[in-house]
Symmetry: C2
Subunit: 344 residues, 2 copies
DNA sequence: TTTGATATGTAAAACGTTTTACCAGAGGCG
DNA sequence: CGCCTCTGGTAAAACGTTTTACATATCAAA
């Protein structure tokens, strides 16, 4: 183990015959008080020694860590998920563009209970936090509200208290899917939502109901199932629904995973998709183009959203804005999993 | 923005009437030189003030950052991938168990070119790095070799120089899949590999060839296609292969994504799976159980592997070991995408 | 020649910890 | 009494930066 001696700004000062302060001034290009000659000497020395500033020291001095945290919920395997993956990818891309690095955190119960989400700030681990996959049950988020902490909720929001957020318009998504299916001629439709405690899931349902109601169509409780946001859940939900309501001709799922699960379940129960039952998803993940049949789904601009959330978080950190509230539009991606209902 | 004053150990000292040193000693439980009485006083003060040590200061003092980086390659959207997701998930779980936090980094060309991978160490960003998804072309890894830096390659290794690694036995995987298909009665089989520059991909191929050769079966170059580790690639590769070799009855794919793509491609070209062509994948990702037909695949213990890699990295950081070289066994998960070939 | 500005540079403080080295008092022992 | 060893505690140095406030030399103007 060749222990390479860590070299500090002091070494550079000695090597270049300048003072500590001078080196720092040169490196940070503060005021250009330093003459080109010494400047040159210092830079040469930096190069020769391969000096790199210690960011722990920098952070201590500046009271900035240069990191932001991404907080994701504890799912089966939190990161093995295309939706969060896309979000994280977007955030990372933008953060590193502006010189920030990102820390990954999973909001498990112990994590929250031991107040580690607060400690991320208190202990100067990070300068800001992006919260993904939050639900209405995440009451701990309240502790972030208005406390002068740089926190942004990504693709959701909390109805019970004000929190910075950047979100897609899920009500419009539900409405859009509803109108699309109505246009195809469907009159008996079901919904598989992700979770009653997720606000965007409720919004989707409300939008869907609204579209149906405007066309004089009802969405009774018996046609609403919980699909848990998973393939398995979607599969089971679809089977339950078809058992209780064999006459259903179309299903809207709250995300693509449940939609794909639903397709599996429908096929398994002897229904053809889309000939017997149409299925519409929501998200438009990469995978949606590669199932059988390729999924018709509401496209939510997840990547773009992650990027925006990151940008706005930076604004909060730099003090350029005080609150963040953004809603982004969505649109439909038509593939092959939805068609007109078969003539009765 | 209510700026909450950051409170330091000095405040605790004043509040408790003890010295700075005493407070530190109490908090770190170094020698129990402190009397229970003062100990109590200090702890009370800590509680009253809600003091939390600043980890930048701690890091500066200890020369440890308490962070490890996960380095992933730049794919389409690096994190939106079940394989890397699983790995990251495992690493995060174990790291946080031992008090470490994780930093995400994508190894883009600019990142490497500007030497940021080295700077992660030089600038004291992290104490160690886990490299995922590396290829034989990642020559920059050489700079990590033997330099006394805590680096572990996860689920791969480099043939051209020694680097710490924890890896699955892909040669055995190839052999196992080959033997399984041979046992089913297949004699004309193709391979869709991920990339010629990935060592484990080559190992898989060698194992597969070996099994076939042992049974007197050849794997000519015309039956080997590149599937780019993606669904699209797998689909295209399967189509190319069947066009050139309509007599093929089974295909082994280097990962599940390509296998699923291949199934899509085969169906599209009019083949039934597995009746006309059997498909075997590799990885056993969650998704493998939810395609049509459910995928028969070689199970590589990815989660376990990520955890082990993290454990061994800790060993390196703490100086408990000097080198790491682990190979983990694999096994088959039988589902429905492979069956005996139809009688000719 | 003095005065004052300007240009270039530096010493020292500060950020918040941990660790090292030292100190005072108490008790034991010859 | 003189010496030594504990016990409980603290002052100060160190980690590596940035920033503030001061110092010196030069030069122009009065």
């Amino acid at each position: 183990m060749a222990k390479r001696k860590t070299i500090s700004i002091k070494d550079v000062a000695r090597e270049s015959g300048a003072s500590l302060t001078t080196v720092s001034l040169v490196l940070n290009d503060r005021d250009h008080r330093i003459s080109p000659a010494t400047r040159e000497r210092v830079l040469k020395a930096v190069d020769r020694l391969g000096y790199r500033p210690n960011r722990l020291a920098q952070g201590l001095q500046s009271q900035k860590s240069g990191l932001i945290a991404i907080l994701v919920p504890q799912l089966r395997h939190a990161f093995a998920d295309a939706y969060f993956g896309e979000l994280i990818s977007a955030i990372h891309d933008h953060a590193s563009e502006v010189g920030y690095k990102i820390l990954l955190e999973v909001a498990r119960p112990e994590f929250i209970k031991s107040n580690q989400h607060q400690e991320l700030f208190d202990r100067h681990f990070v300068d800001g936090i992006l919260c993904c996959g939050v639900t209405n049950k995440d009451v701990y988020l309240k502790e972030f509200a208005g406390a002068g902490r740089a926190v942004v909720v990504v693709n959701n929001y909390l109805p019970s208290f004000k929190l910075n957020h950047v979100c897609c318009d899920y009500k419009a998504a539900g409405r859009m899917a509803g109108e699309y299916l109505l246009d195809l001629g469907h009159r008996r439709m079901g919904l598989i939502h992700g979770a009653q405690e997720v606000q965007t899931s409720l919004d989707l349902q409300h939008g869907f109901e609204e579209a149906l109601r405007d066309a004089g169509v009802k969405l009774p409780a018996s046609l609403v199932e919980d699909g848990l946001y998973t393939e398995e859940g979607g599969e089971a939900a679809a089977k339950r629904m078809m058992k209780r309501n064999p006459g259903v001709t179309a299903i809207l799922a709250g995300n693509d995973k449940m939609a794909i699960g639903a397709i599996t379940g429908l096929k398994d129960a002897g229904f053809r998709v889309p000939e017997d039952v149409s299925v519409v998803g929501c998200d438009d993940m990469h995978q949606a183009g590669y199932c059988d049949p390729p999924l018709t789904t509401v496209h939510t601009p997840i990547y773009e959203l992650g990027k925006r959330a990151c940008e706005r978080l930076m604004d909060l950190i730099k003090g350029r804005v005080d609150i963040v509230e953004e809603i982004h539009p969505v649109n439909m991606t038509i593939r092959k999993s939805a068609s007109p209902p078969k003539p009765a």
